[in-house]
């Protein structure tokens, strides 16, 4: 049933990675949501962060109010751990889409059937998008259940807005990784470059809060659009979402064009 076409085959290939990423991120979020009241009684996080001063901002605590669950989740998860996890997942998977088939040698057989290179890239991409959405939905459910257990306030629509941004960020980095691997056939280079870009962009965004000069290049960081407008509190910023979606789309097009033009590895 899952072997009907490249899309369903890719869904099948991704079923376990998606399961574990969803479960991991979901459980982590639920854990923080459940334990939040205990934490906030034990430690006054806000004063702790104040004492840390600028260093706290490096950890992503640039605008959180740790006395609420929303702020707490923002600081603890949405600023660093979740985007890193979803971006690494998407980039790791996407980098293997064409380069993996090439290095295994299966691309020869696949392309000898009536399916175009473009279609292969797009169907695999669709499967990755679905996997990211599934992970986000699981995370939403876990977080809402966790918040309910600890009787904390966590608006479902705002959480959903933050997760939309999370998925878009993951897809943007996934598209970058896909473009590099589709253009070069080199999965290692694709993962390496994408992770390096992720770290640099994160640091540019985090440091721009404390280093004046970085403000100029901050718009180049995808993290600026991801949490720049704090969707957990303010809801979805459509302009920011459009930027991330556009980046993903542009790199997807680059991936398709590059892959269509290249000599494939023997």
């Amino acid at each position: 049933m899952l072997l009907r076409n490249v899309f369903t085959k890719t869904v099948r290939d991704l079923r376990w990675p998606t399961f574990w990423v969803s479960l991991g991120c979901g459980a982590m979020t639920a854990y923080f949501a459940i334990l939040f009241p205990t934490y906030s009684k034990l430690i006054d996080l806000n004063s702790l962060l104040e004492k840390m001063g600028p260093a706290a901002k490096l950890l992503g605590a640039s605008m959180g109010d740790a006395s609420t669950l929303v702020g707490f989740l923002h600081i603890e998860l949405f600023s660093m751990i979740l985007p890193a996890a979803i971006a690494a997942f998407a980039a790791g998977v996407a980098s293997g889409f064409t380069a993996g088939e090439e290095s295994r040698g299966t691309i020869d057989i696949l392309l000898s059937y009536p399916i175009s290179r473009r279609r292969i890239v797009l169907e695999k991409w669709l499967a990755l998008s679905l996997a990211c959405v599934v992970a986000a939905v699981v995370l939403w459910v876990f977080a809402i259940i966790g918040a309910a257990i600890s009787a904390s306030v966590l608006p479902g629509d705002r959480l959903a807005a933050a997760l939309v941004m999370l998925v878009l960020l993951g897809l943007a980095f996934g598209a970058i990784a896909l473009a590099i691997s589709a253009a070069t056939g080199n999965r290692g280079a694709s993962i390496g470059l994408t992770v390096a870009l992720l770290v640099v962009m994160y640091l540019v965004d985090a440091l721009s809060a404390i280093v004046d000069g970085l403000g100029v290049i901050r718009p180049l960081s995808l993290f600026r659009y991801y949490m720049g407008d704090d969707p957990l509190r303010a809801g979805l910023n459509f302009a920011d979402a459009a930027v991330l979606a556009a980046v993903a789309a542009v790199f997807l097009v680059i991936a398709v064009v590059a892959f269509e033009r290249r000599d494939l590895a023997a």
């Binding site: 040698g105 299966t106 020869d108 057989i109 392309l111 059937y113 000599d263």
Partner: protein, 311 residues
């Protein structure tokens, strides 16, 4: 009708010695065509160009008269391919893989496919990764033949096949040919495919040297002959007979090489008392080498070892 395969000045440069140069190849439909050459001669490069996996530096390639790049999907619907380095989705079982590839093709006659699985004695419930090389080859062969393609391209298909599968493979090729389909087989060993092919093309160092019908080659078969006569004979009687070369007459013993028919020589010899006659038919490999090989190749070929074309 357009030829199954047609290339015009097809060239792929990789900077160094690899690649192919100005290959003009025409393979008419309804035959088994052997594409022969030593390893690294450009066989796989040519095949990958035909499949649009790589793009030519210059020149054109057409399959069924269709451009291999522009009309890719139309060609793919009518063609199948078994790569030399056969790589399959190892996490799937044989059955799952055949289902997947069948779905990509669109329509596969399940009864015909299952018949192939039975004929090759393939266990389709095993995961590909647990299969031996020979059994993986079986999966590749079923995948290639199950869609009943008009053109089947096989890159070094005979490597690693056990004798039973080899035989079934040859039957499959012959059946396909008898149904009017075209089979294109690359190999670096002429003896493995010579009895199977209708025509062969030889490629060496990226250049197509010749395309010959096997029957024509056989007509030009070289035989080495030695006749012991009961009396001394004169060389003059045999010199100048059609096809006779390298004539040496020593008392009552004649040695020579004959190209093509033995008729004239035997009739001439019949006038004398013939005590014994030895003949050694050279392999097609030697013939090929004699006509198209390099100097060292001829020596290696005439030495009679059934070695590689590349000797």
């Amino acid at each position: 009708m357009a030829p199954a395969i047609e290339t015009e000045g097809l060239t792929k440069s990789y900077g160094r010695a690899r690649g192919i140069i100005e290959v003009d190849l025409v393979v008419e439909g309804g035959q088994i065509f052997g594409f022969l050459g030593p390893n690294g001669a450009g066989k796989s490069t040519t095949i990958r160009l035909l499949l649009d996996l790589i793009r030519p530096t210059s020149g054109k390639a057409r399959v069924f008269g269709l451009d291999v790049h522009r009309d890719r999907l139309a060609i793919d619907r009518r063609t199948s391919y078994v790569p030399g380095e056969l790589a399959l989705y190892s996490e799937l079982t044989g059955r799952q893989l055949l289902d997947y590839l069948g779905n990509l093709q669109g329509h596969v006659d399940a009864a015909f496919r299952d018949g192939l699985v039975d004929r090759l004695e393939l266990d389709p419930t095993k995961r590909i990764k647990s299969l031996s090389r020979g059994n993986k080859q079986k999966v590749g062969l079923v995948a290639a033949f199950m869609i009943r393609p008009e053109l089947i391209i096989l890159d070094e298909p005979t490597a690693g096949l056990d004798p039973f599968v080899q035989l079934e493979f040859e039957h499959l090729c012959e059946e396909a040919r008898n149904e009017g389909r075209t089979v294109f087989i690359s190999s670096h060993q002429l003896p493995e495919v010579e009895h199977l092919c209708d025509r062969v093309g030889i490629i060496r160092e990226g250049r197509l040297l010749a395309v010959e019908a096997i029957a024509d080659l056989k007509d030009r078969a070289l035989r080495r002959l030695e006749i012991d006569f009961g009396e001394p004979v004169s060389a003059d009687v045999f010199a100048g007979l059609p096809g006779v070369r390298d004539l040496v007459v020593n008392d009552g013993t004649l040695r020579c090489t004959v190209m093509g028919s033995l008729d004239a020589l035997i009739k001439a010899a019949a006038r004398f008392e013939v005590r014994n006659l030895h003949t050694v038919e050279t392999s097609l490999e030697e013939i090929f080498m004699a006509y198209y090989g390099s100097g060292e190749g001829i020596e290696a070929g005439v030495a009679g070892e059934a070695g590689h074309v590349a000797a």
